[in-house]
């Protein structure tokens, strides 16, 4: 059962990731990325990380990808154009990526002592996770909340209309 679920959702993951590369329209890539992230949530659940599966769906497939699709639609992003730079990326990038992939696969396949995952494994309870998070790691947690607050302020400051220059004459856009 675990094997069947793994094969199905790993297949969804790979298909979504490949589709992200093949699509030339950003909205199609965004929707394929949602497929990848939701399948990853199922894989997290198979590995016994129930809280992370829920957080993956809420934070990634929910919040972040909604932000992406919103920006794609807001900027009316069209079909991407191919230029000389993409050819250089093809010629240099693909051998490098194949090398990275080969090294990673060799390391993983030669690793000793890796266990197996099955449906009989215990699921990490959220209670245990939160106990560690709020007792031992309370300070990093609070620092991250400050980081998110700063990120929100920065996003508002960057995206507000008074910021930046117009493309034609370099004149500052007036606040309307």
């Amino acid at each position: 059962m675990h094997l069947i679920l793994f094969v199905i959702f790993a297949g969804f993951c790979l298909a979504g990731a490949i589709n992200l590369l093949l699509q030339s329209h950003p909205i199609n890539s965004a929707l394929s990325l949602i497929v990848v992230m939701t399948s990853l949530a199922v894989l997290y659940l198979l590995l016994g990380a129930e809280f992370l599966a829920a957080a993956q769906i809420i934070v990634y497939s929910g919040a972040i990808m909604v932000l992406f699709t919103f920006v794609v639609m807001l900027l009316n992003a069209g079909r991407e154009e191919r230029t000389l730079g993409s050819r250089a990326a093809f010629t240099v990038g693909f051998p490098a990526v194949v090398a990275i992939m080969a090294v990673l696969a060799t390391i993983i396949l030669r690793a000793q002592g890796l266990g197996v995952a099955s449906l009989a494994d215990a699921i990490t309870p959220t209670e245990e996770l939160s106990r560690v998070l709020f007792h031992e790691l309370l300070l990093p947690f609070e620092v991250t909340s400050i980081l998110i607050l700063i990120a929100i302020l920065g996003a508002v400051a960057l995206a507000s209309p008074g910021h930046g220059y117009t493309s034609d004459d370099g004149e500052r856009i007036s606040n309307k």
Binding site: M1, L14, T83, I100, T124
Partner: protein
């Protein structure tokens, strides 16, 4: 039913993570739209998260999962700021093609 394997080796999860990461790198190099390049970065983050969860399962360690939780929070902050930067760049350049936004100055 006994001949059918009920368990999946954790190396398969790690291999899936490596393949997803490589696909993210390919997307980062090949895609010419800045939003899609950003999506490829998110794909790489997700691939690394999968290997974190796999190792948390391997060592029965809760801290691996907590690390993924922190990565998710930082990724949310990063997505918000990154997309705001993309909006600001689009307002200045009226393009999303990475080949045309290769200068820091206007």
């Amino acid at each position: 039913m006994s001949a059918f394997p009920h368990e999946v080796p954790l190396s398969w999860y790690l291999l899936l993570s490596a393949v997803l990461f490589s696909l993210g790198v390919v997307g980062f190099l090949v895609k010419r739209n800045v939003i899609t390049v950003f999506m490829s970065i998110e794909l790489m983050l997700n691939a690394v998260n999968l290997s974190f969860v796999t190792f948390a399962h391997q060592w029965h360690a809760v801290k691996g999962q907590i690390f993924v939780f922190f990565v998710m929070m930082v990724a949310a902050a990063e997505a918000a700021v990154g997309l705001a930067i993309i909006i600001a760049v689009f307002r200045a350049r009226a393009t999303l093609a990475v080949d045309r936004i290769d200068l820091m100055k206007l």
